[in-house]
Each structure stands twice: as C-alpha cells, then as structure tokens.
C-alpha cells in the first residue's frame, strides 16, 4: 500500500474548503492506501513533520490562492522542506496539488501552479499535476459539484495507481469552475458580502470605507 500524505495548506485548516476537497479525495482512497493528514498552518515544522513527507510515496497538497500565489506559510513550508530534503537520499515522492481561488476563473491559479512545479523540480519531488479550481467557495453549492467530485476521484485513482504502471505517466492538470457568466458571479458574491456586513450593522458604503 502506498503511503500518502494529505497536506492542508490553508490557514482556515479544518474549516477551509481545501479540507473539503482533500476529504473527497481521501474518502475514495479509504482502505486502499496508508493516509496521514498534516496541517501546514498548525504544525511547527519539526523533523518528524518533514520525515513523514520524506517517507511518503505521494503528497497531495490542498491550498487556497493568496494574492495570486501561495499563502505565506506554504512558502515557508517549501523553503524549510527543501532544506531538510536536500540532506536526504533522493526518494522522489510524487506531488499532487488541489488549488482553489475565490474568484470565478480557474485561470487565476496558473502562476501559482508554475511555482508549485518549480518547487517540485528544485526539491526532488515527482511533480504529478493536480486540480485547479475557480470559484472555490461557491463550487460545492453549485451544479458543478458532481463534476468536481469526479475529477477529485480521477486524481485519487492516479495517486493510488502510479506505481502499478510501467510507462511514464502524463502530467495532468484538471481545471474546473462554476458555470456562470461573470456578471452573475459578481452579483452573487457582492450580495453575500452585503448580507454579511448587514449582520454587523454595516451597509455597502461602510464596507468600502477607507480605514487609513
């Protein structure tokens, strides 16, 4: 059985949508791999933490897009894991990602995906691609929910099966977002914030106010 680390890279940890996406992938591998869950925003980066990663056959990292790239602590994880792994014999664990952004278009993740790929190259991971999700907060409540579950399951099958095949595998990045014109997405998202503000006694003007 393969040892797979599910790595949550969101500061929201268990409350993150990243956690939900990971859970879908984890659930369909139940009993078929040896899984372990780690939280980048919870852990002190101990030797034990990096040793788990080093010993894994595959790492599935789920994370949100922050300011068009990776959240700060995920970058710290990358820097420190690179330091740790460079002193170890090369094992090339596979690296898969599940990245999600708040805005509509999955294309907003493209630069961050390149950064993950570069990290994998420099650190000695076997970069295996992953899933790029737009409208991450909305998608599980949308008609695209099933399509998303399907791509997560497809990726999970790859995570499980890679060593069972002899040939070199293609690297796949599956891309998905809600199926909605931009104006409608904007209207929906804006309305959510107006409602959230109203609960705190703040109108739209107050939400836009300058603080400095």
């Amino acid at each position: 059985m393969k040892k797979v680390i599910f790595l949550n890279g969101s500061p929201k940890r268990k409350r993150a949508v990243s956690e939900k996406f990971l859970k879908i992938a984890e659930d369909c591998l139940e009993g078929q791999i040896r899984g372990e869950k780690l939280y980048i925003y919870e852990s002190e980066f101990s030797d034990g933490f990096f040793e788990s990663i080093y010993e894994a056959d595959a790492v599935v990292m789920a994370l949100p897009l922050y300011i068009d790239c990776l959240p700060a602590r995920v970058l710290e994880f990358m820097t420190e894991s690179k330091e740790y792994l460079k002193n170890r014999e090369l094992r090339r664990p596979e690296l898969y990602f599940i990245i999600n952004c708040g805005f509509l278009e999955y294309s907003q993740n493209d630069t961050a995906i390149k950064i993950i790929e570069k990290y994998a190259e420099k650190t000695g991971f076997d970069y295996r691609g992953g899933i790029s999700i737009g409208s991450g907060a909305m998608i599980l409540q949308s008609r695209k929910k099933e399509a998303l579950e399907k791509v997560l399951q497809e990726m999970a099958q790859e995570v499980k099966a890679f060593y069972d095949t002899e040939e070199m595998q293609e690297t796949t990045v599956r891309k998905i977002n809600v199926d909605m014109p931009r104006f409608l997405f904007k209207a929906k998202a804006d309305k959510l914030w107006v409602e959230a503000g109203a609960k705190k006694g703040l109108d739209k003007k107050a939400l836009k106010a300058k603080y400095y």
Binding site: P11, I67, T111, K118, F185, K199, K204, Y211, Y212
Partner: protein, 185 residues
C-alpha cells in the same frame, strides 16, 4: 521623482540582500522614501478570517508591524518590493506582508483584463516595482515572477513595471538605475 512618496519593503537580512537594499536607497535618494525591512518587524500570518471585509472594514484583527506599513502603502506613489526569489515567487517574509494587504481592497468585485478582481479601497495612480535577487535566478523563475508581479500590480491598483532580477555578483547600481529611469516614464 522629487518628493515622490516611495515605500520600499524589503526582506534583506543577509549580505546580498543588504547590498541591493542599500543600492535602492541610493537610487531613490531624491524621493521621499520610507523603508521597511520585514526582518525587523513582527508580522503575523493572515488567517483568512475576512474580518477586514465585513466586521471592521479595512482593519485587520492583528495589531503588529503592518500597522506601521499600511498608512505608508496607502499614501505611496511608488511601491518597491525587494525580495529574495524562491521558485519564481516572493520570499516567505515578503509574502507574509503581502497576504496582509488584502485590507487594501474592498469585498466587491470588478473586471480587469477579462477576470474578476477586487475593487481597490484606496484608488490612486501608483507604480509597482519589484526587485528580486538570488544566487542564480533561472529564466523560468524570471518568467513566473514577471507574470506574478503583473497580477499583483492589479491588487495594488498600480501601474506595473518590469521586475529587476539581480544575481549574486552582478552590477546592482546599473540595473537599478535603468529601472529607476523606467519608473519616470
């Protein structure tokens, strides 16, 4: 460039970084410069709570080094980010600060370059210059960083300037001088 408000935010803490930081200060000597070095400041992580969007608009729950930086960022005409290059991205130190600039935007969406983005909370004609250094920046990293900074200029509501890449041992002054000339355009 006289009395143009410039904020330099730097991660320099080793010899190489400090040399570039010094070079930047020299080049901008005629401007009104405020320098923040993130390695001297305590900056917490953004925890993604969105309090700054719907509870206390524009204000973060953390009371730390960002409180000093943000007013200068808001008032700035030119934003200069000095960072070590890591995988085509900013250093973790600079990224901690950047994650916290989410307060720079309102919760509401607008369309830029055919994509959804947030409206700026402090609209102003700014310019964004980024300077990345490392022992040896490869060309793929430079391409990734170029794309990334273009996108970040949208977040800062700033005009983008081509990043400066400085490998160890290169002529810092010459490279920065050219970028400075570019800023004046």
């Amino acid at each position: 460039m006289d009395k143009i408000k410039t904020i330099i935010i730097s991660d320099a803490h080793d010899m190489e970084g400090r040399l570039v930081e010094k070079g930047l200060q020299d080049i901008f000597s005629k401007a009104e410069v405020t320098l923040f070095n993130c390695s001297d400041l305590k900056i917490e992580y953004c925890i993604g709570c969105f309090s700054c969007r719907y509870k206390t608009p524009g204000k973060c729950i953390h009371n730390d080094g960002m409180v000093d930086i943000l007013p200068h960022l808001v008032a700035s005409d030119v934003i200069v980010l000095l960072t070590r290059m890591e995988y085509g991205c900013y250093s973790p130190l600079i990224k901690r600060m950047l994650d916290r600039t989410i307060t720079f935007e309102t919760p509401f969406l607008r369309t830029v370059n055919g994509e959804t983005h947030l409206e700026p909370r402090y609209p102003k004609k700014r310019k964004l210059l980024t300077v990345a250094y490392d022992e040896n920046i490869d060309s793929e990293e430079a391409v990734i960083f170029t794309h990334l900074t273009k996108r970040n200029a949208v977040n800062f509501d700033a005009e983008w300037r081509r990043p400066v890449f400085i490998n160890e041992g290169e002529d810092i002054e010459k490279k920065l001088r050219r970028a400075y000339g570019d800023l004046l355009k």
